[in-house]
C-alpha cells in the first residue's frame, strides 16, 4: 500500500510539474504573441476627443478609453461600464453615479475628480456640444460619486455617458498640450498605446491592472493598410489576425481563405436618399409632394443593395436599425410609410401631378443626384441605380460624385436637388435630432422650419423634446413613431440600405461576439 501511495504521489507530482510547465510555457508563448489588426485609415490622434473617424473610435473607444457607459449592439445596447450604479432623481434632472473600482493605465485609481475633469474638458470642445449641451453642472460628491445636473430632462443622456471617455487628470496634465500626439496611459481601458505612428501602425499593450481582469491577448498591432487588395493578401498570408469591415468586393475570396472564420452582419449604418424640396430646379419641381413621393416609389432598394454592396447589405426601411437601437420605431409595426418599390404608383402620382405622357416620354428633369465618396464608389453606384429608376418613370436626372469636402457644404447649405448621404453609429433615435431639428442647421440636409414651411415642423420638434423627457422606452418609441411618420410623409428622407459589415479572423483567434460598430479586444482570446 505504501509503495502504491508513494508511486501515486510521485506520479501526481510529476503530472503537476509537467502540467504546470506546459501551462506556463503556453502562457509565456501567449505573452509574446501579437494580434495584428487591419485599419484602413490612419489614426488621427491618441486622444479620443480629437478623432472623428469610426476607424479611430474603434481602437480608442472601449479598448484604450472607457466611458461611464459602454455600447455593445450584440448584447442589446448601452451597459454600465465605469458607472457602477446610476440613480436618477424623480424629476430626471439629477444623475448620481457611483464609479467602479478601476485604475488608469498609469496605475492611478479612477476618482470622481477625473470624471469631472473629463466632462469639463468635453464642455470646452465645441464639436462635442451635441453631447454636452443638456448638462448644467458636473461635480464630485466624494471620491467615487459624481453628480450630473441637467438643464432639462434628457433620457438620451446614455449616449453622452457612452461617448465621453474618462481621462486620468494627472496623465493629461502631465503630458500637456501635446496630449493626443503621442502614446499615453490616460485611459482605464484594457489596452494602452505603446507606440503610435499615424502613418503606419499603433501598438497596444495589455493593461494588466484592468479592472475587469488582465486581457488574454497581450500585444496588438493595428496596421494601416489602405489598399483592400493588399489587406486581403495579408490576411490570406496569415499576416493579419483580425479584419473588421472587410471589403465586400473581396468577400468571396475572404470566405474561401478564412475557412469558416468569418461573419457578415448588418451594419449599424444607413445610406439615405434626400430630396431638397426647396430646390429651384425645373421651376421648383421638387416642391411638389406628388413628385417627391413618385420619386420615392420609383426607387428599387433591392437593386441598389445588389449593385452597391454585392447583395451583402440589406434594404433599409428604418433610419436606425431597430434591432440595434431600441428606441428606433420598427418598420414592421407599420406606423409609417416606407415607400415600397412601386413604379406604377410612381407613374400615376406623376400624372396626378399634371405631367402628360408626352412630357414623361421626353423625360422631365428633376435635377442632379449629388453624392460623395468616390474611393469606394458604393454611393455613386446607389446614385446610378436611382438615376436609372427615375428614368423608368419618365424623370431625367444627372449624377454628381465629388469629394466629401466639396459636397458636404453643398448638402448642409441646401444647395442640392437630390442626394445620397451616409450616417452611422446611432444608438439612440434621439440622434435624428441632428437631421430634423431647426437647431441643427449645419448638420441637417433638409430645412423643415422655414417661414412658409409646408411641414408640421413644430410637432417634429415637440416630439423630439417629448422623446427625451421620459426613460420609458415604449413611450419613447410611440413618440418617435409619430415623428418619423411626419418625416416620411414629407417624402424628403428615404432610408435606402444598411451597409454590411464583414469580419474575418485568424485560425488562432477567438473574437467573441461580433459587433457591427465596435470591437473590444478584451473579449478576444487565443485559441
Amino acid at each position: 500500500m505504501k509503495k502504491f501511495l508513494a508511486l501515486f504521489f510521485t506520479l501526481s507530482m510529476l503530472m503537476a510539474v509537467f502540467c504546470g510547465y506546459a501551462g506556463s510555457a503556453e502562457a509565456a508563448e501567449n505573452a509574446d504573441k501579437v494580434l495584428t489588426v487591419r485599419t484602413s485609415s490612419s489614426m488621427q490622434s491618441t486622444d479620443w476627443a480629437q478623432t472623428t473617424h469610426l476607424a479611430d473610435a474603434q481602437i480608442l473607444w472601449q479598448n484604450v478609453f472607457e466611458g461611464l457607459y459602454g455600447m455593445n449592439e450584440a448584447r442589446g445596447g448601452y451597459y454600465h461600464s465605469l458607472a457602477k450604479d446610476v440613480k436618477i432623481s424623480e424629476d430626471q434632472l439629477t444623475y448620481t453615479i457611483t464609479l467602479v473600482d478601476a485604475t488608469f493605465q498609469n496605475g492611478e485609481p479612477l476618482k470622481a475628480s477625473d470624471v469631472v475633469f473629463t466632462y469639463k474638458r468635453a464642455l470646452d470642445i465645441p464639436r462635442l456640444k451635441y453631447l454636452t449641451s443638456m448638462l448644467d453642472t458636473v461635480s464630485a460628491l466624494d471620491d467615487k460619486t459624481v453628480v450630473f445636473k441637467l438643464k432639462y430632462p434628457y433620457s438620451a443622456i446614455e449616449h453622452t455617458f457612452f461617448s465621453i471617455m474618462i481621462y486620468s487628470e494627472k496623465e493629461v496634465k502631465a503630458i500637456g498640450d501635446s496630449f493626443g500626439t503621442k502614446p499615453h496611459k490616460a485611459g482605464t481601458g484594457a489596452y494602452y498605446i505603446d507606440e503610435y505612428d499615424p502613418a503606419s501602425s499603433v501598438k497596444l499593450k495589455a493593461h494588466e491592472g484592468y479592472w475587469r481582469g488582465a486581457p488574454n491577448i497581450k500585444n496588438i498591432d493595428v496596421l494601416l493598410i489602405t489598399e483592400n487588395s493588399a489587406a486581403v493578401i495579408a490576411y490570406e498570408n496569415g499576416e493579419i489576425g483580425y479584419m473588421h469591415d472587410a471589403p465586400t468586393s473581396e468577400w468571396e475570396e475572404l470566405v474561401r481563405a478564412s475557412d469558416g472564420r468569418n461573419k457578415m452582419i448588418k451594419g449599424n449604418n444607413v445610406r439615405t436618399f434626400y430630396i431638397n424640396y426647396e430646390s429651384k430646379s425645373n421651376n421648383a419641381i421638387l416642391a411638389n409632394p406628388l413628385v417627391r413621393k413618385a420619386i420615392f416609389y420609383a426607387i428599387d432598394k433591392e437593386t441598389i443593395n445588389k449593385i452597391s454592396t454585392g447583395g451583402y447589405g440589406s434594404v433599409a426601411d428604418e433610419y436606425m436599425p431597430s434591432e440595434y437601437v431600441k428606441t428606433s420605431p420598427p418598420a414592421s409595426a407599420g406606423g409609417f410609410e416606407v415607400y415600397k418599390y412601386n413604379p406604377e404608383k410612381a407613374k400615376s402620382l406623376l400624372k396626378e401631378a399634371g405631367f402628360t405622357d408626352e412630357q414623361l416620354k421626353a423625360g422631365v428633369p428633376v435635377g442632379t443626384i449629388l453624392t460623395y465618396g468616390a474611393t469606394t464608389g458604393e454611393k455613386a453606384k446607389c446614385a446610378q441605380v436611382i438615376q436609372s429608376d427615375l428614368s423608368k418613370i419618365g424623370l431625367k436626372s444627372e449624377v454628381q460624385v465629388g469629394d466629401i469636402n466639396m459636397t458636404s457644404p453643398m448638402f448642409h447649405s441646401y444647395e442640392y436637388d437630390l442626394g445620397i448621404y451616409g450616417d452611422s453609429g446611432n444608438f439612440d433615435f434621439n440622434n435624428i435630432r441632428q437631421m430634423v431639428h431647426s437647431e441643427s442647421k449645419g448638420m441637417d440636409l433638409v430645412r423643415y422650419k422655414t417661414d412658409d414651411s409646408p411641414f408640421d415642423w413644430r410637432r417634429i420638434e415637440e416630439l423630439l423634446d417629448l422623446g427625451v423627457s421620459t426613460s420609458d422606452v415604449e413611450k419613447r418609441v410611440v413618440y418617435y413613431t409619430e415623428l418619423w411618420k411626419i418625416v416620411m410623409d414629407t417624402a424628403t428622407i428615404l432610408p435606402l440600405i444598411n451597409m454590411p459589415i464583414g469580419v474575418v479572423w485568424g485560425a488562432d483567434v477567438d473574437p467573441g461576439a461580433i459587433n457591427p460598430s465596435y470591437y473590444q479586444f478584451f473579449e478576444f482570446s487565443w485559441k
Binding site: A230, D403, N405, G442
Partner: protein, 314 residues
C-alpha cells in the same frame, strides 16, 4: 566648378518659392477645407468655421503664403499638421527617408540590370542575345508597377509565403517593392543603353580604336561605353526623380509609410502644411538629383568639365 554648384543651389530658392506659391494657389482654388475634412460630414458649419479659424486656414491667400515662408526662414518651422497636430517635419522626415531608401535601391537595381543588358544587346545586335532581352524589356516596360506588385504579392507572399506583404520593418519587406518599382526602370535603362551604345559603336573613334588593334573589350568598355553613358546617366537621373515622386502607388500597395502616400492621404484632408512641406522636400531632392546628373556629366565628359570651368572663370 564650385561656383557653378553654388549657383545651381542658389537657383533652388526661387524654384522652391515658386513651388510653394503654386501649391498654395492650387489648394486655395480647390473646394473644401480642413475643418470639414477633420470634423466630418456631421459637424456643424460654425464648428467647422471655428476650427478653420483656429488653424489659420481662413487667412487671405497671400498672408498665408508670406507667413509660411517667414516661419520656414526664421524658425525652420514647417508648421503643425492640421490632421494629427504633430510637427510636420517630424511627420514627413521618416517617411521621406523611407522613400529615398526605396528609390535609391530601385535605381541601383534598375541600373545593375538594365545597363549591362543594354550593352550586351548592342554588342550582340540582331542575335538572340539582343532580340530576347529587347522583347522582354519592351514587355516589362509596358507593365504598370502596381500590376507587377500585385503579381509579386500573389506569388512570393501568398503562394510561396517567403516574403511579407506589407510594411517596412526589415530588408525582406523592401524586396518586392524595390523589385516592383525598379523593373520598369531597368527595361528603360536597357533600351536607352542599347540605342546609345549602337550610336556610339558606329562613331569614327570606335572604328579607329578597332583599327589600332585594341581588344574588343577595351573598345567597348573604354571607348564606346564612356561616350554612350551620357544619355543613360540622364535617364537614370530622371528615373530616380520619378521614383522619388512616383513611388506612391507602390507605397500604397505594400503599405509602406512613404512620403508619396502621406501626401496623397493628406490631400483629402486638405492638410496644407504636410502637403506643402512634402512637396518641397521632393522638389529639392529632384533638383539635387538633376545637379548630381550634371556633375556626373562633367566627370564623364572632359569637354563639359572644361565648359563649366570656363563659365565659372568668366
Amino acid at each position: 566648378m564650385y561656383i557653378y554648384i553654388v549657383k545651381r543651389l542658389l537657383f533652388l530658392i526661387p524654384t522652391i518659392l515658386g513651388i510653394i506659391l503654386i501649391i498654395f494657389a492650387v489648394m486655395n482654388v480647390t473646394p473644401g477645407d480642413p475643418g470639414r475634412a477633420i470634423l466630418g460630414v456631421s459637424a456643424r458649419q460654425d464648428e467647422v468655421d471655428a476650427l478653420n479659424h483656429q488653424l489659420g486656414y481662413d487667412l487671405p491667400f497671400l498672408q498665408k503664403y508670406v507667413n509660411y515662408i517667414k516661419n520656414i526662414v526664421t524658425k525652420g518651422d514647417f508648421g503643425i499638421s492640421y490632421f494629427t497636430k504633430q510637427s510636420v517635419f517630424d511627420e514627413i522626415w521618416p517617411r521621406f527617408v523611407l522613400t529615398i531608401k526605396l528609390a535609391l535601391c530601385g535605381i541601383l537595381l534598375s541600373t545593375l540590370i538594365g545597363v549591362p543588358m543594354g550593352i550586351y544587346a548592342a554588342v550582340k545586335q540582331y542575335s538572340l542575345y539582343d532580340t530576347i532581352p529587347s522583347l522582354i524589356a519592351f514587355f516589362i516596360a509596358s507593365i504598370p508597377g502596381f500590376v507587377l506588385g500585385m503579381v509579386l504579392l500573389y506569388v512570393f507572399s501568398l503562394k510561396l509565403n517567403i516574403l511579407p506583404s506589407y510594411g517596412a520593418k526589415t530588408i525582406r519587406h523592401l524586396i518586392m517593392p524595390v523589385f516592383a518599382i525598379s523593373i520598369s526602370a531597368a527595361a528603360q535603362n536597357m533600351r536607352f543603353t542599347k540605342s546609345s551604345m549602337l550610336e556610339s559603336v558606329r562613331q569614327d573613334y570606335v572604328r579607329t580604336a578597332r583599327a589600332k588593334g585594341l581588344p574588343e573589350s577595351t573598345v567597348i568598355w573604354k571607348h564606346a561605353l564612356k561616350n554612350a553613358l551620357l544619355p543613360v546617366v540622364t535617364q537614370i537621373g530622371l528615373n530616380l526623380g520619378l521614383l522619388i515622386c512616383g513611388a506612391v502607388v507602390i507605397e500604397k500597395l505594400f503599405s509602406l509609410p512613404g512620403i508619396g502616400g502621406l501626401i496623397v492621404d493628406r490631400i483629402s484632408f486638405k492638410d496644407e502644411p504636410v502637403i506643402i512641406a512634402g512637396t518641397i522636400l521632393i522638389a529639392v531632392c529632384f533638383t539635387i538629383v538633376m545637379l548630381i546628373v550634371d556633375l556626373v556629366y562633367a566627370y564623364i565628359d572632359p569637354r563639359i568639365r572644361a565648359k563649366y570651368s570656363r563659365t565659372s572663370t568668366k
